[in-house]
């Protein structure tokens, strides 16, 4: 078994908790670390989103989101050096995007994969296998937990897909949400955005007293309150 070092000891500003008997650390970047299994999990990278938006609408966003996302992942991997990396679905905005990944980005990804097990869980955006190394699976069981893209009524589950965001004060941020039985991951991709934490689609999945863990400089855990959070000041001085 991998050296069970908690991320807190590494000073990564993470939030440690136990989900159905498995130790978890929600990292401020939006990645989830399972220290007892040496596994790092990220969800909804949506690589190639700018390309797909350009194709479909003509709007050409800064085409750097693959780079931003992979460089962020590089930093997490460098710090934690996980044995296993799990991409929890919607890793690519669609299968075309996976195929048309530019050469330098493909190389960057290969570098990240070197020396570790790499699992692509399939998502609704990327249902088929990709030609990029790693293992392609519908879901995977790690310890007591099942990891899949879209949440099911099954207990002891980690999923992505809804990628929540939550607001306490200031701007809303991508957030993990969890209760006793399940964890829903925030989006890790730079241009992915998220679903407001109070939306019914998300709330109906959660039991009583859920917790949100906000990403940012530090992972900050707060109880998910019933009322929708308030709007926020946009700038510092008005």
């Amino acid at each position: 078994m991998h050296a069970p070092q908690s991320v807190k000891e590494q000073n990564m500003n993470g939030h440690d908790f136990i989900l159905c008997g498995t130790r978890c650390t929600a990292l401020p970047t939006g990645a989830l670390y399972l220290p007892d299994h040496g596994a790092l999990c990220v969800s909804d990278l949506h690589l190639g989103k700018s390309d797909r938006i350009a194709r479909r609408s003509g709007v050409m966003l800064p085409p750097y989101e693959v780079q931003v996302t992979l460089e962020k992942l590089q930093t997490d991997i460098d710090r934690i050096d996980p044995q296993t990396l799990i991409c929890l679905g919607d890793s690519f905005d669609d299968l075309d995007a996976a195929d048309s990944l530019q050469e330098d980005m493909r190389l960057l990804l290969t570098g990240l994969q070197a020396g570790r097990k790499w699992i692509w869980i399939e998502g609704n955006h990327d249902p088929g296998p990709v030609d990029l190394g790693g293992t392609h699976l519908a879901q995977i069981k790690i310890g007591t937990l099942t990891l899949r893209h879209i949440a099911t009524p099954e207990k002891a589950e980690i999923s992505g897909h809804y990628h929540p965001k939550h607001r306490v004060t200031g701007r809303s941020r991508p957030a993990f949400v969890y209760d006793q039985d399940r964890l829903i991951m925030p989006a890790y991709g730079a241009y992915t955005g998220g679903l407001a934490s109070h939306s019914p689609a998300l709330r109906s999945l959660l039991g009583p007293k859920p917790i949100a863990v906000l990403t940012g400089k530090r992972a900050i855990a707060v109880p998910l309150t019933e009322t929708p959070p308030q709007a926020h000041p946009r700038g510092m001085f008005y």
């Binding site: 855990a221 709007a231 001085f237």
Partner: protein
């Protein structure tokens, strides 16, 4: 010059009404063949008729087929108003002229019909006109167009809407070679500049000045009570204002911000023991409510209206015989235009009173009065045509069909504000529209525009035209939320999102003159209930605050040089004399910096006189630098003339803080993380078509995950710092809310000369700063710290671990 006689039909009509043609109306008629013509006339001078008369005459014979005259105004309401007003002469003379309006409110079927069969005279707005030029059949629609009349051109010229309009005109001019341009303007400081924007470059543009009428009768309202040291409420003047309202038929009471208008109205109402009919009108109120007040005003049912600039344009003011400006006018031109609208009787002077809200505004009001007397209007010269608007124009052009880049460039440089645009800058914009213009990573497969074999450009996917059309316009969203009574669908008005964020259930505030209780935020709507309270708990909501104009600031600084101040009320003159005695008065060519302790904190007060926005930016920059120098700043506050910073460490030598090179370098650093810059970026990127405001079949709720435009800004700063959108953002930071241009002006003016005075206590001139609202706390990691504290509170409340 040849004198054009009125046709008999028109002569009779004038005679029947007992009218004689005004000299400026005759002049417009005489020069109706000029390629460009601008009329400067006060309200009530028959300005609109002067603009339309040549077209009515040309159309009276019934020989013209299709569109003859386009009328463009900044307001939809104005287009509808003019349509009604034009009907009178057309119907009474029985002229065979079809007049229609076309705005965002016009129905889809009506719009389609107008394209197939355009009326003779079409009344529209810049945005609707731009949309019209985006259709494939634009050449057919505009083919026979003879004249375009741009109303309130001075107002359009102040924003990007004017630039968009002039770009559209350059397009239309190519489709309608006979097109002549007419601009109608209020009094402005630099008519030539606006005339040059109107005319096709390098065509000349004649300027016709109507008789401006007698000088306004304008004075400061004298009250028994002294104005307070700070604040904008002018509550002290309520009894005096009410007395004036009683003495006049209809009084307009202008305020600089909506918040101040609300508070003043509330206080006025509490003091209105005679139950005079008084209304309130400002831009945040629901349209129905505004229209009700406007109708009552036109009908003469109101004795007074408390209002903001939203009442400035277009609406027929009826019989207003007094204008009261509460708060210093900040800008002389706006004041003069405002006053000029009162009193419809052409040859009687308009009457106006200024009410300073605080002691310093007394000085400002006196300076403004002197400027009005000297006909010294203010205004900052406009920069070159904005490139985000040009990007949108290129996309609009592409919607209409393939275009030739050389020809489009030639066309764009006929627009006054784009006449100096070089080809490289144009090509950058074209490249942005075609490929996104990214330095490191190109869109190869999915460009927005493709170049055809013959060199022309067109949309890769013609379906993209719909999305581009849906996003036409340069008016920025103002982050507001609708307010409505619980259980009632009709909105009361709007509040700024930032204000809504400060509310917790149970808080009471003012809107539309009534006190309401905040209940909840539901789907981006603020739900409230009615309250009988006399005083709202939350005194204010934010609103745009104008910065004092450069000219007015200069005038104030000149006033400070006087030996004594017989032109000021005694309380204010004594205050200035005391400042001179214990410290000194600021001078135009140097920055006065006072340092003094107060309540255990070290204070530094810098008098830069660069206007509120720039002084605020200066506060940001100063505190940023002080933090680097371990001077531990805690917070700052700024107003139009000074910035006050407080901290834990005394500043013994402030001069290095004001070094131009430091300030400029700090500015660059500050920009990259600044919320205002991100907002500016959002605006430019939306106009240029990088961010879409409106999406086809946009779903209001649901799964469609959107992400913040801030990430685009951060990404560009990191990977593509010279990208066109960032260039535009930096350019805009020189003006507007950041207003670094005025910091530059201050640095040039003072050339490094700092007068530092170390004092042992608060000085008279800095005193108002201590009472000023909007103090800003400095905290390097403020956001996270606040967040953690809030999280702890939440955790404590809920009782989880």
């Amino acid at each position: 010059m040849r004198m054009t006689a009125l046709p008999p039909q028109f002569k009779n009509w004038f005679a029947q009404r007992g009218w004689a043609i005004h000299p400026h109306q005759q002049a417009m008629l005489d020069q109706s063949d000029a390629p460009a013509l601008m009329l400067i006339a006060p309200t009530g001078g028959g300005k609109t008729l002067a603009g339309f008369l040549p077209s009515l005459i040309e159309l009276s014979e019934g020989a013209h087929d299709g569109l003859h005259t386009l009328y463009v105004s900044p307001l939809k309401a104005l287009a509808a108003d003019i349509k009604r007003n034009l009907r009178t002469p057309v119907d009474e003379m029985g002229l065979p002229i079809r007049i229609e309006d076309r705005t965002g409110d016009t129905s889809y079927t009506q719009k389609r019909r107008q394209r197939a069969d355009p009326p003779h005279i079409l009344l529209t707005t810049p945005e609707s006109l731009a949309l019209l030029t985006s259709y494939e059949d634009a050449p057919r629609i505009f083919k026979g167009l003879e004249r375009i009349i741009v109303d309130e051109i001075h107002a359009l010229s102040e924003s990007k809407r004017g630039d968009q309009l002039m770009l559209a005109l350059s397009r239309i001019q190519n489709l309608a070679p006979n097109l002549r341009r007419v601009g109608l303007s209020a009094t402005v400081e630099d008519p030539e500049a606006i005339a040059n924007e109107l005319a096709r470059h390098p065509d000349p543009c004649a300027i016709i000045n109507a008789d401006p009428g007698p000088d306004p009768d304008i004075a400061m309202l004298l009250t028994k009570e002294k104005p307070p040291w700070a604040g904008g409420g002018a509550k002290y003047a309520i009894p005096a204002v009410l007395d004036e309202v009683k003495k006049h038929k209809t009084t307009l009471i202008f305020h600089n911000t909506r918040a101040q208008a609300e508070i003043f109205f509330h206080n006025l109402w509490l003091a209105n023991t005679d139950d005079l009919p008084i209304g309130i009108h400002h831009g945040s109120l629901a349209r129905e409510q505004r229209e009700r007040v406007e109708a009552a005003m036109v009908a003469g049912d109101l004795r007074a209206i408390v209002c903001t600039g939203s009442l400035d344009l277009g609406i027929d003011w009826g019989d207003v015989d007094l204008v009261i400006q509460v708060g210093a006018p900040k800008n002389v031109k706006r004041l003069v235009q405002r006053i000029g609208r009162a009193n419809h009787h052409y040859n009687a002077p308009s009457k106006a009173l200024l009410v300073p809200a605080n002691r310093f505004e007394v000085v400002e009001c006196v300076a403004a009065l002197e400027a009005v007397k000297a006909h010294d209007l203010d205004g900052d010269p406009k920069g070159p045509g904005p490139r985000d608007v040009l990007c949108q124009h290129i996309l609009i052009t592409a919607c209409a069909g393939p275009f030739d880049a050389d020809q489009l460039y030639a066309e764009v440089t006929t627009v006054g504000s784009y006449r100096t645009l070089d080809r490289a800058a144009f090509d950058d914009c074209l490249d942005f529209c075609a490929t996104g213009g990214y330095a490191l990573r190109a869109y190869d497969k999915w460009k927005r525009l493709l170049q055809n074999a013959d060199g022309t450009w067109q949309l890769r996917d013609p379906r993209a035209a719909q999305r581009i059309r849906m996003n036409i316009g340069t008016i920025q969203d103002t982050d507001t939320l609708k307010v409505r009574m619980k259980g009632n669908f009709k909105p009361l008005g709007e509040v700024e999102e930032a204000f809504a964020a400060t509310l917790t259930p149970g808080d009471t505030f003012l809107i539309g003159g009534q006190v309401v209780r905040y209940e909840a935020l539901k789907e981006m709507t603020v739900e409230v209930t009615r309250r009988g309270d006399k005083t709202p708990k939350i005194a204010t909501f934010m609103g745009t605050k104008f910065a004092n104009s450069t000219q007015l600031s200069q005038r104030i600084l000149r006033m400070f040089r006087q030996e004594d101040w017989p032109n000021l009320p005694a309380h204010t003159a004594e205050w200035l004399a005391l400042q001179r005695h214990v410290s000194k008065l600021p001078e135009a060519d140097r920055i006065l910096v006072e340092t003094f302790p107060h309540e255990g904190r070290h204070h530094i007060c810098a008098y830069g006189f660069a206007g509120r926005n720039a002084m605020q930016t200066l506060g940001m920059l100063l505190t940023q630098r002080m933090e680097e120098l371990d001077l531990d700043p805690l917070g700052f506050v700024a107003n139009d003339y000074a910035t006050l910073v407080w901290g834990l460490v005394p500043v013994n030598d402030p001069a290095p803080l004001f070094t131009a090179s430091h300030l400029r370098a700090d500015f660059e650093t500050w920009l990259s993380g600044n919320a205002v810059m991100k907002k500016t970026f959002r605006g430019a990127a939306t106009i240029a078509g990088l961010i879409e405001r409106n999406l086809p079949q946009s779903r209001k709720t649901g799964r469609q995950a959107t992400f913040s435009s801030d990430i685009l800004y951060d990404t560009l700063i990191k990977y593509d710092p010279d990208h066109l959108m960032l260039q535009i953002t930096r350019e805009e930071a020189m003006r507007g809310l950041v207003d670094f241009g005025r910091i530059e002006e201050m640095l040039t003016r003072t050339a490094g000369k700092i007068d530092h005075l170390q004092l042992d206590r608060v000085t008279p001139l800095s005193l108002p700063m201590f009472l000023e609202q909007g103090r800003i706390a400095v905290a390097g990691a403020a956001q996270d710290r606040m967040l953690e504290e809030a999280a702890e509170r939440l955790i404590a409340q809920v009782g989880v671990e």
